[in-house]
């Protein structure tokens, strides 16, 4: 190891939220002139760590050193004064102000209270050209440029304010390939100028393309700090997920559904895709089959599922469910017996203001239309029945759903769809953020459904879970479906290799 000193050193950081340990004993070292990737699955503590660094959260224990001096970051202003700047995924600027105004907002060159517009525009143009290799008209509103340019403007602004450390939080998630490589070019240039860049992303390929070192977090704990070229992809993934590779290989999938047990073809997607969301993919689902959809967050799992449900419009390929090959809305998909539990339970699942009972009957009532009303009495019967079957707590049909815990809300949503008697149930992260007991109940339910002839598309970040329930697994990486495996082939090691991709394995 060369004798270098980190510009930023976070020691033994602890952060507790009510009921959750968000960070415990996390450390992070950033050296000048490097791109450092911060990796971890959802809930690993990446964003908490960044928020600590930017002064949004205060820490319970530990300390931060900047250039060997202890500093106290208690507000975003402190962070800025210390030289830490952040550019978020959603560009945090004013879209209807000009590019130049955005760069210098609050710091405009003035004389006697008057803003010197010419000077401002010239300085902005020069800044973008020197540091970002960007020659654009800085007097146009920011929103007239694509997201990629907006991001570069945000970076330029951050650098201009003060930056020894630049944090890029998921900067590439809304960029296309060309724009990504443009951004990476800039990142390399800034790195060579001596800046320390902390890069947060879900895309493995990009980590290896641009990063020098990698810090991995898991479940709020520090896993390790590695040089990027000494850490094979597959090991990176296994460290993120928390399974040693050897341990995984020795866990082959025991039972697989026999070929003849598979029923008729229920759903078939051919070359189905949507620009910017998911590359064209093929998928066939048979009656009574449980298909696992594995992949990291942002790999296109959710986007693929939404296409199958008609929640988003596909712009290429064919989707056929049953005999219907023109499904363009959830309504049509539901009519063909497809049900979809979104991963965004709060935003796209529950209806806060309604009761458990109303939430349960919603989808069935929507199928029946406005006037074939399910009577209040029947509604209560149905609700009671599902509350009992799924063990929903509190067992009161007239309780508002927003007062329930996450696991119980999830069960209500499952009940909503089970009531419609679906042929295909798409479950997007049905067990995320719910306790272990509820998790096991949901997994059991999925398997018993398949025995009754219901097909399930099961999406989860937890490999173990996907392997346990699925007959067949499709793996997504970087917005495309990369592999499909069934039966004997299915093992955590193989799935993980497919998730990691690249040359290894």
């Amino acid at each position: 190891m060369e004798e270098r000193r980190p510009i930023l050193h976070m020691h033994d950081i602890h952060k507790q939220f009510p009921g959750v340990k968000a960070l415990s004993g996390v450390q992070l070292r950033l050296f000048p002139g490097e791109v450092h990737a911060l990796m971890g699955e959802n809930g690993a503590g990446k964003s908490t760590l960044i928020k600590v660094l930017t002064g949004v959260y205060s820490i319970d224990r530990g300390h931060v050193e900047m250039e060997q001096r202890r500093i106290l970051i208690q507000s975003p202003q402190d962070a800025q004064a210390a030289g830490v700047s952040t550019v978020y995924q959603e560009v945090n600027l004013c879209p209807n102000l000009s590019v130049a105004e955005n760069i210098f907002i609050g710091r405009e060159p003035r004389r006697m209270g008057r803003i010197l517009w010419k000077q401002l525009n010239r300085a902005a143009a020069r800044l973008l050209e020197d540091r970002m290799h960007l020659t654009i008209d800085v007097t146009l509103p920011l929103q007239s440029y694509p997201i990629a340019i907006q991001q570069l403007v945000a970076i330029a602004r951050a650098l201009n304010i003060s930056a020894k450390v630049l944090i890029l939080d998921e900067p590439t998630s809304s960029l296309d390939r060309g724009e990504v490589s443009q951004l990476f070019g800039i990142m390399r240039k800034l790195k060579n100028e001596g800046l320390a860049i902390l890069f947060v992303t879900h895309f493995l390929d990009q980590v290896y393309e641009v990063s020098d070192r990698i810090t991995i977090l898991r479940g709020g704990e520090f896993v390790g700090e590695y040089a990027a070229d000494a850490l094979p992809r597959i090991e990176l993934v296994s460290k993120m997920i928390g399974k040693e590779l050897k341990e995984l290989e020795s866990l082959p999938r025991s039972a697989a559904a026999s070929e003849e047990a598979r029923g008729e073809l229920l759903l078939e997607a051919k070359g189905l895709g949507r620009r910017g969301a998911v590359e064209p993919f093929d998928l066939a689902i048979r009656k009574g089959e449980i298909i696992g959809l594995a992949g990291l967050l942002g790999s296109g799992r959710t986007e693929a599922a939404r296409l199958l449900f008609g929640a988003d419009r596909s712009d290429r390929g064919v989707l056929r469910v049953g005999d219907n090959d023109s499904i363009h809305s959830p309504r049509q998909a539901i009519d063909e017996g497809v049900a979809f539990c979104s991963e965004d339970r709060k935003g796209e699942g529950i209806i806060d203001d309604l009761t458990i009972r109303e939430n349960i009957v919603l989808a069935l009532q929507a199928s029946q239309g406005w006037f074939r009303t399910i009577s209040r009495k029947r509604q209560s019967e149905i609700a009671e029945q599902y509350i009992q079957a799924l063990n929903i707590n509190p067992p009161n049909p007239d309780q508002l759903i927003k007062n329930l815990s996450g696991g119980n809300q999830q069960k209500v949503l499952l009940a909503r769809w089970l009531l419609t008697d679906p042929k295909l149930l798409i479950l997007d992260e049905p067990t995320r953020g719910i306790d272990i007991g509820a998790k096991a109940e949901i997994q059991k339910l999925v398997m018993s459904l398949s025995q009754k002839g219901v097909s399930v598309l099961f999406i989860s970040s937890e490999l173990e879970e996907v392997l346990r329930v699925s007959d067949r697994i499709a793996v997504m990486r970087d917005r495309s479906k990369v592999k499909e495996m069934a039966g004997e082939e299915m093992s955590e090691g193989r799935v993980m290799q497919a998730i990691a991709g690249g040359g290894e394995g």
């Binding site: 203001d353 929507a366 006037f371």
Partner: protein, 341 residues
């Protein structure tokens, strides 16, 4: 938890109590020509159009929308009905009056449909989409009346706004019918559930298979119809149509009535009963101000002040901060004890 009608009814009771103390004759009801007369009956009669408009507005607001065009629709329907009648040979002919009513209500429904299509079909924000008709509607009403005030003399038409049935104003029965229809449609069919669902969580509703566009169009259509009936009552009451002033600022009173009635502008749960009481509060307030002889030039200020009070009383965070202040002030000694210890 208190019943959702607790505060609306409380405020209405307070207003009536004030009137009782100020002038007990407020509550006197006399029988004249077989009909009841008195301030209370006036409130019901004059409040009828507002109640109707507010009922329609409630459903629109429940879908997280708003309809600013109701005042203009009131003017247009009144103008259309009066125009049709004034063109007739015998203004008292039942057929003519019925034709006038049907034509103008069809127009009101069409205008509601227009709003619904702009909101649900074209995806324009409700406040802007209905602002279009709010502004243009006055012009349309002027166009229909030819810039004049159309006066008619048709007893049958006048009956809608000024007639009596079973000793009560006829308009009250119209309100009752519309209210009952709205209650039935929203509570006995699935429409109410869909409205609340769409207003609360539009995306989740769509993913549950609800045709949110159709729901949205339906509520604007119903709101247009309600405003249309209100327009008939208002123009019938004065036997004339004034494109400029009929239903002026009704949208604002209606929104206020809905909010006072307990329905949130954020959409979701709605309370038709609360809305009707909200409308009655506003009408009682107007009548009270008129009866207590507040100088006409400051009536609006007084009204605004009372509305502010009502809204503050209903605001939970305001009540809590009051309670908090009250509690912390009660024990000044406590601080001192700590100080000395």
């Amino acid at each position: 938890m208190k019943h959702h009608l607790f505060w609306p009814i409380g405020v209405l009771t307070l207003l009536l109590l004030f009137n009782l103390l100020y002038d007990p004759s407020f509550f006197s009801i006399k029988v004249r020509d077989g009909n009841l007369y008195g301030s209370l009956i006036d409130i019901l009669n004059f409040g009828a159009p507002l109640m109707l408009v507010s009922i329609g507005m409630t459903l629109v607001i429940a879908t997280k929308g708003i309809d600013l065009s109701v005042g203009s629709i009131v003017a247009i329907t009144g103008a259309m009905a009066c125009l049709t009648i004034s063109r007739g040979e015998d203004q008292n002919a039942l057929g003519l009056v019925i034709t006038a009513i049907c034509v103008s209500l069809a127009l009101a429904v069409a205008l509601g449909l227009w709003n619904g299509l702009l909101v649900a079909g074209a995806g324009i924000q409700p406040i802007i989409a209905t602002l279009i008709l709010m502004v243009a509607g006055r012009g349309v009403a002027q166009l229909i009346t030819g810039g004049q005030i159309i006066t008619i003399s048709s007893d049958k038409y006048k009956y809608i706004g000024a007639g009596g049935l079973f000793t009560l104003p006829f308009s009250i029965f119209l309100v009752a019918v519309v209210f009952a229809a709205a209650m039935l449609l929203t509570r006995k069919t699935a429409i109410g559930l869909f409205i609340e669902s769409v207003g609360n969580k539009p995306v989740a509703s769509r993913l549950s298979g609800i045709r949110s566009g159709a729901v949205t169009i339906a509520v604007y259509l119903f709101c247009g119809l309600c405003a249309g009936i209100a327009g008939l009552i208002l123009s019938g009451n004065v036997s004339s149509a004034d494109g400029n002033n009929a239903g002026l600022w009704y949208e604002l009173d209606a929104i206020l009535a809905v909010v006072i009635g307990g329905t949130s502008l954020n959409g979701g749960r709605f309370y038709l009963g609360g809305t009707v009481i909200g409308a009655l509060i506003i009408q009682t307030l107007t009548t009270t101000i008129y009866l207590t002889g507040v100088p006409p030039e400051i009536t609006l200020v007084v009204k605004a002040f009372v509305v502010l009070l009502v809204c503050l009383v209903q605001s939970e965070s305001f009540r809590q901060s009051l309670v908090y202040r009250f509690k912390t002030r009660r024990y000044p000694a406590e601080k001192e004890v700590k100080h000395h210890a």
